[in-house]
């Protein structure tokens, strides 16, 4: 398929707004060519004589052509719904399919004419896209839900959800878990199995607090999960005299293997020659190889290639970025792996490491009897200097990192705030005598009798953290760094800890990254429509009072806590303590952060306004049309 004169690796470097072209074979001493992009590139795909790139903001599909001097030159650009992200082409190479993450759309681009053929609405945060072998349909993965979307590629195109519950053996038989982080999917070479890497939120297991990592397989012949349903009272045999009551104990009934052999799966490739899968584990700075022939590949990983640090860097100069990174417990060689490609003979994987701006060259296990894998140093190329000042650059490494024990018990900030946004999940905050932890579901129990906790929905951070404070749903933290410190204790099983200096240093690095490094989602810059204007008038009216608390000048919040009368605890959660107050949340980017409220009790903005009555401001006097206008205005924020 490749043009022989174009032996190159292409890499979308979002943080530097550049596309990089790395000639092959990789020469560690030759710097790759960087091609400036009109916005942050998300994914790149090379086909015969052309290179396609998605651009997030403005939403675009760029069509480029190799060029001997410039590396690549643009031949066409196709405007698409903003936050263009995932990219795939149909088997006939005539059509490109693009997911637009923030705007929740999937579009088709006719490559012959470089024009958009159609765009359709899909649920929140569509990311990965894969086209069926027969070209009849595409599968879309989402960051914030377990179901995939299947789009039948006929005219008009049609979208429908496909159930694929994550990690089915770690959930009660009729209570599938929620999933997050569905960035990536891959088909087997014959197209008959689709592999999807994600997090199973609230999956059951020993010391499980956030859940489990999971690659789930869909049979494309009938769009059914490959894994057969978990059976209640599954047949088993126990060793004689083995005294352990397994039946009825959820944790003992679930598989007893490692919960998270990878954390924050960011990319996935199928390795045909060994029939294995390679997962880029953003949180643990590793590449993890799984058996593609297994019904549940995640249960027994075949190989983990650790990439985080190079021994050669142990002697980094004091005060250098490497030394500071090491002190903060984060990667120096390959941090936050977010892309993987295989060499033609599949003996080598190239891994793009986002938070260290490096490309690692990973020699892979041959998986042959009698050929043991000898680990050795991992060669790498430094692609660029960090795009941020030092404090924020270390904060960026910490944001993706799930291994530094001081910041979390095994899940990075990006595990719940992907892209600085939210996972759409309502966490269970359970407190005991001297701890408070987040749990993914009421089935994750810190101790007998303690389950459920209070509901805390993950808030979006990008574009909402410029104010000094206070932070937290209950306005409990005066300053941003204080809320981050509180989080270090929440994101784990049991108690965290560390020297005060180590804790506060990390919190300040992270605060810098949250403010300087997170990129707010795209927002359309256009005059309000008459309906939206009417909504604005209602929002700011004396009668409705919305803007009293959601103050437009300060990100649509007054950052003050208010009691919320008439709150009922949602099933599976505790009732809140009397007198609890809730901070007025910012309404910036509210269109894309469903569900709403600290407990996620309003599924849509329409439902929120409809059910509000006069709990928050006043809406009971509004007509149907007024309410629709108010919602239309909220969507522009």
């Amino acid at each position: 398929m490749r043009a022989p004169q174009d032996d190159a690796l292409y890499l979308a470097d979002e943080d530097h707004r550049a596309l990089r072209r790395i000639p092959l074979p990789v020469d560690v001493s030759a710097p790759p060519i960087a091609i400036a992009m009109p916005g942050r590139p998300a994914q790149v795909l090379a086909i015969e004589g052309r290179v396609l790139v998605t651009i997030r903001d403005p939403g675009l599909l760029l069509v480029m052509q190799p060029d001997p001097t410039a590396g690549l030159v643009e031949v066409a650009r196709v405007p698409l719904p903003a936050d263009a992200w995932g990219l795939a082409i149909t088997p006939d190479e005539r059509t490109a399919l693009v997911t637009s993450a923030w705007t929740g759309k999937v579009s088709a681009v006719d490559l012959a004419t470089a024009t958009k053929s159609w765009s359709i609405d899909v649920p929140r945060e569509p990311r990965g896209v894969v086209v069926r072998e027969d070209g009849a349909a595409a599968y879309i993965t989402h960051l914030t839900s377990a179901a995939l979307t299947r789009i039948d590629l006929r005219s008009p195109p049609q979208a429908r959800p496909i159930a694929l519950s994550p990690s089915p053996y770690r959930a009660p038989p009729d209570e599938p878990r929620a999933a997050s982080l569905g960035y990536a999917a891959a088909l087997s070479p014959d197209g008959r199995r689709l592999f999807v890497a994600r997090h199973a939120l609230g999956a059951i297991g020993e010391l499980s607090w956030f859940g489990a990592a999971s690659v789930d397989v869909l049979v494309t012949g009938n769009d059914e999960p490959l894994a057969p349903r978990r059976r209640e009272a599954a047949p088993s045999r126990l060793a004689r005299d083995f005294e352990l009551d397994i039946a009825g104990d959820q944790e003992l009934e679930a598989p007893r293997s490692e919960l998270a052999p990878f954390v924050q799966p960011r990319a996935l490739v199928y390795r045909e020659s060994t029939r294995t899968l390679l997962v880029a584990s953003e949180g643990t700075d590793a590449l993890v190889e799984l058996d593609a022939l297994s019904v549940e590949p995640t249960l027994r990983p075949l190989h983990t290639y650790p990439l985080g640090s190079s021994p050669a860097l142990a002697g980094a100069a004091p005060g250098s970025l490497d030394a500071l990174s090491r002190d903060a417990g984060v990667a120096t060689l390959c941090g936050a792996p977010s892309g993987v490609a295989l060499s033609g003979d599949e003996s080598l994987a190239w891994v793009y490491c986002r938070s260290t701006d490096t490309l690692a060259l990973v020699r892979l296990d041959e998986h042959k009897a009698g050929v043991p894998y000898e680990p050795g140093p991992v060669p790498f190329i430094r692609l660029a200097k960090p795009p941020l000042p030092e404090q924020a650059a270390i904060g960026r490494k910490l944001f993706y990192n799930a291994t530094d024990w001081i910041t979390s018990g095994g899940l990075g900030c990006a595990g719940c705030h992907p892209d600085g946004r939210d996972d759409g999940h309502v966490w269970h905050e359970v407190s005991g005598g001297d701890f408070a932890n987040f749990f993914g579901s009421a089935d994750n129990r810190p101790m007998a009798g303690l389950a459920g906790g209070v509901a805390r929905q993950t808030p979006m951070l990008a574009g909402r953290v410029s104010a000094e404070g206070p932070y937290g749903w209950n306005a409990q933290s005066e300053l941003l760094a204080a809320r981050i410190l509180e989080g270090f204790g929440l994101h784990r099983w049991g108690m965290g800890g560390g020297a005060d200096g180590a804790l506060s240093l990390r919190a300040s690095y992270l605060a810098s990254f949250l403010r300087e490094g997170l990129v707010p989602p795209p927002r359309e810059d256009r005059p309000l429509t008459p309906e939206e204007k009417h909504g604005f008038a209602l929002f700011t009216s004396e009668a409705a009072q919305c803007s009293r608390c959601h103050v437009p000048e300060t990100e649509y919040t007054d950052r003050t806590g208010y009691p919320m009368p008439g709150l009922v605890a949602r099933p599976g959660f505790y009732r809140e303590k009397k007198g609890t107050v809730y901070k007025t949340p910012s309404l910036r980017f509210i269109a894309g952060t469903a569900p709403y409220y600290h407990d996620g009790s309003a599924r849509t903005l329409e439902a929120l306004v409809e059910q509000n009555e006069d709990r928050m401001g006043r809406t009971s006097h509004m007509s149907r049309k007024d309410k629709a206008a108010l919602v239309a205005f909220l969507r522009t924020l």
């Binding site: 894994a227 126990l238 083995f242 003979d345 009897a369």
Partner: protein, 194 residues
């Protein structure tokens, strides 16, 4: 298009010839100069099970699927005459041996401190389990699993080891997992022991 090896944010346009030949050199140095199958010569490696099968001459289950039958589970004596088969992948340290009799597959493994064996999920067909336990021992040192292998099957079996968990309590952890699947369109049954 099918072969475009891309994923995530990175894309590979082509392969590096230097690297390709490197792996071919590695391949030439195979153990005992064992016969290398035609697939290997094209540069594609074989996953563990198939590799070993090619080397030993034992029939690979995937390449010689059983006939569509519904027979009762073979009696103990029948297994003695069963034909050894190779699985698609065997990477456990449990020294497993697999045999076929009609459409029934039996896998016998040895591993320390075995406490239990159970089905996590199965589309159809009952599995039969037996633990090999010395009368003086608390735990078993061997396990046998037998199940019918039929088109359409999907099955996951977990074998557990006893552990002494925290505060001296006993616990269980996964020792290895047997996975079986045979979908319409597959060359044959895919069975992994990991």
């Amino acid at each position: 298009m099918k072969k475009l090896p891309w994923i995530g944010t990175v894309l590979l346009g082509a392969l590096a010839p230097a690297q390709a030949s490197e792996s071919l050199i590695a391949r030439a140095a195979e153990p005992d100069g064992a016969a290398v199958g035609p697939r290997a010569e094209t540069g594609a490696g074989l996953p563990d099970g198939r590799e070993a099968a090619a080397a030993s001459g034992v029939r690979a289950l995937e390449e010689a699927p059983p006939a569509p039958e519904r027979t009762p589970r073979p009696a103990a004596a029948e297994w003695d005459a069963a034909e050894p088969v190779r699985l698609a992948r065997d990477r456990s340290s449990a020294a497993c041996k697999a045999r076929m009799r009609r459409e029934w597959l039996r896998i016998d493994c040895t591993a320390p401190s075995l406490a239990a064996v159970r089905t996590l999920g199965a589309s159809a067909g009952e599995a039969w389990f037996s633990l090999d336990q010395n009368s003086s021992e608390d735990l078993a040192t061997g396990v046998s699993v037998a199940f019918p292998v039929r088109l359409g099957d999907r099955r996951v079996i977990e074998i557990l080891a006893g552990t002494s968990a925290y505060r001296g309590q006993i616990g269980i952890s996964t020792s290895f997992v047997i996975s079986e699947q045979w979908l319409d369109g597959d060359a044959g049954p895919l069975v992994s022991v990991l």
